[in-house]
Amino acid sequence: MSFDKFKDTIEQGDTVILYLNVNSMHAIQVQPKIKNKKDEWVENVFQTTYGALKVQSLVGKKFGTKVALSRGWAYVLHPTPELWTLTLPHRTQIIYTPDISMIIFQLEIRPGSVVVESGTGSGSLSHALIRCIKPQGHLYTFDFHEYRVSVAREEFETHGIGQYVSVKQQDVCQDGFGTELNGKADALFLDLPHPWEAVPHAAAVIKDLGKLNQTYRFEGQSNDFLTVEGLPKELSVKMIWRDVYTNSLFTNF
């Protein structure tokens, strides 16, 4: 439910983002018990630099409000793909929001699009793609790593968006995307060590007038293609007070 629709109040099983400050955020699963390192079920208490939070107490609180920690407070925010990108557990190097936005823009993805993605990685881009294409669209995502596939599948289910995505374990460079997808994709995205190996398979899958996008350089024929790199620069804004000298000495030049 968490990522599918917005809601006002936190319920059992939701993912919430605990916001401490602009550089410190954590994704928490609202459940009464959690497994610790020794694989034992213990009470779900989340520790921060501002104190502890009994996660179960979040149930019933409203998103966007302050919650008390034992030595301070924090905000609980509704999960979004952007916040998830900043807080998700990394299994691979992920793609961040500026690149994600460029990808979605260039691929012209809209509600109802059928998108194919490989590799899934940690699912950062996947969450943003799903938000864009639901409810009628579908995301087919592939990764050759068994563990990553199962974690991704589980995450999509927990986040309430499992119905919009199919995760499959497959080496798309060797075996392609599966013939059932031929001619079905509006957009295809490759983030692989050797994307050129997957290109012939990609060509079969993309519809007439579909789009192909990769994170690495791509040499070859294409109707219309563009290679860009983007770098976001964040400005640090500070209020600094300075004295102003008004002595007559300074004005008699």
């Binding site: 925010l77 823009f105 563009l226 400005l235």
Partner: protein
């Protein structure tokens, strides 16, 4: 499903993008369409009724001027491929001396070749034959030469269906100032950060961007979602929205409202009819007086507005030359008391009152509500109970007061984002917001974008690069806490 629109056949009244090599132009299809592509005039008759993504060859009309008719063809042939095959090349440029006289044909001769109706390929072939140095150039140099000539003599065009990506490219390239320097990467970030769900409600305050941001947001919303498009003045800038050829279903998700009308509607309780009328009259005065430059831009598309019945009763003959005096006035503080607010503005705008205008007959307003008022009510109804899921502000005016006025109508834990071509207004707003406790996650960012040339052994970043794509202030709305804690990060409770 998403590409069904692109399989459309071209109809009269559609907007299309005409592409010739890298040059793209937005064009509205008319029955006897003629379009200028650089210095060439094309007659677009043959494209009507044909699917998009077709390529057409430009065939000169043989009357000496550069007028062309179009003939459909399967594909275009690259000049470089054709002509390079038969020519040998040199290994480096040590013996090549550029004295400007390597081309034996004179300018007049070349021009006459062109007007004689010779095909582009033949002309370039002639140029190569009459060039002293072509055979000595390296292979890469020959390719570059041919590509350059191809640009000039290319005689194929492709008809494409407008998409946000294409329109942004066209507008940014033609005149970036018309869209306030909103580069595509910044626009893409706006769309992702505001996080559009198809069934959400979103507010966008837009002025000075030709409707591009509203069109882009509308692209991702379907029936069930709403986009409240807020603008100064009476008519929104709609160029990009029209260019997207949105169907009626999509357009039903869009509500365009004037900012003052909307704010008043959101703030009023139940006013009596009498008050309403008086307020309406004064409101129409204010609406006109705050016409920004968007009005003069809108004159060009006013005809289209008229035909779609979007014009307010009182405004028919009113758009006179207001001049720049009345434009760009920023409302300093929107007072809750309607009357006080109205009077304050009337004092400062006495000049405007002198001009000719038609007022709505009070009797008329009472019996039938004008369309803009119905739209405003509709928008207010969406925003009052459950507030918006996101807010985008991209304005010529200083965003500060606009943000203050609209932020209360964004639900908690939802993003808002402000675009500005300069950083200073955003820095001011950042400081202001830090003092209140109603937002978190504040960031001011700018993106740096560079494109690359990709060719075998010649891959490198492009030499020319855009300086700035504008700045963004983003944040998340939270419920204002009642505690007096002014620090952002959690500190110990007293």
């Amino acid at each position: 499903m998403a590409n069904e629109m692109e399989k459309n056949n071209v109809k009269v009244g559609d907007y299309i993008v005409i592409q010739r090599q890298n040059y793209t132009k937005l064009h509205k299809v008319t029955l006897k369409g003629i379009v200028m592509l650089g210095k060439d005039q094309l007659e677009l008759g043959p494209i009507i009724g044909r699917p998009v993504w077709k390529t057409y060859k430009m065939i000169p009309k043989k009357n000496g001027k550069r007028v062309f008719v179009l003939k459909e063809c399967d594909n275009y042939e690259s000049l470089a491929e054709q002509l390079k095959k038969d020519v040998s090349c040199g290994s480096d440029n040590r013996n090549i001396f550029d004295d400007g006289r390597s081309q034996l044909l004179s300018t007049e001769e070349i021009v006459s070749l062109r007007t004689s109706g010779m095909s582009g390929q033949a002309i370039v072939g002639q140029l190569i034959e009459n060039s002293k140095t072509f055979r000595d150039k390296t292979e890469y140099s020959q390719e570059k030469y041919l590509k350059k000539k191809e640009k000039k003599y290319f005689e194929y065009i492709t008809i494409r269906w407008p998409t946000i990506r294409l329109i942004t490219e066209v507008m940014y390239r033609t005149d970036p100032l018309k869209i306030m320097g909103l580069r595509m990467d910044t626009l893409s970030q706006i769309l992702t950060i505001v996080g559009i769900h198809t069934h959400g409600t979103y507010m966008v305050y837009e002025s000075g961007c030709q409707g591009l941001v509203a069109a882009a947001m509308l692209n991702n919303i379907n029936i069930g979602g709403q986009l409240v498009h807020i603008h100064p003045g009476n008519l929104p800038q709609k160029q990009a929205i029209l260019a997207m050829n949105y169907d009626n279903d999509k357009m039903s998700c869009l509500i365009s409202v004037n900012i003052y009308s909307l704010l008043r509607k959101l703030q009023e309780n139940s006013a009596s009819d009498e008050n309403n009328v008086e307020v309406n009259k004064k409101e129409s005065v204010i609406n006109e007086s705050f016409l920004s430059e968007s009005e003069s831009d809108n004159k060009a598309i006013k005809n289209e507005e008229n035909s779609s019945n979007d014009v307010i009763d009182t405004k028919e003959n009113v758009i006179t030359e207001k001049g720049s005096g009345s434009g760009r006035l920023v409302c300093d503080s929107l007072k809750k008391d309607d009357k006080e607010f109205v009077e304050e503005k009337e004092i400062t705008l006495n000049v405007v009152h002198e001009r000719k205008r038609k007022h709505s007959d009070p009797g008329e307003s009472m019996s039938k509500k004008p369309r803009w008022e119905l739209e405003t009510e509709k928008a207010a109804d969406f925003l009052r109970p459950s507030k918006a899921d996101g807010l985008v502000i991209i304005s010529r005016e200083h965003p500060s007061n606009i943000l203050t006025a609209l932020l209360p109508y964004v639900a908690p834990s939802r993003p808002f984002i402000i675009f500005c071509p300069y950083r200073e207004p955003l820095l001011e707003i950042y400081i202001q917001l830090k003092r209140k406790n109603n937002t978190v996650g504040l960031r001011v960012t700018e993106t740096w974008l560079r494109s690359h040339q990709i060719l075998p052994s010649r891959t490198h970043p492009d030499i020319l690069m855009s300086g700035s794509g504008g700045y963004l202030l983003t944040g998340i709305v939270v419920e204002c806490s009642t505690s007096t804690n002014t620090q952002e990060s959690g500190s110990s409770l007293q």
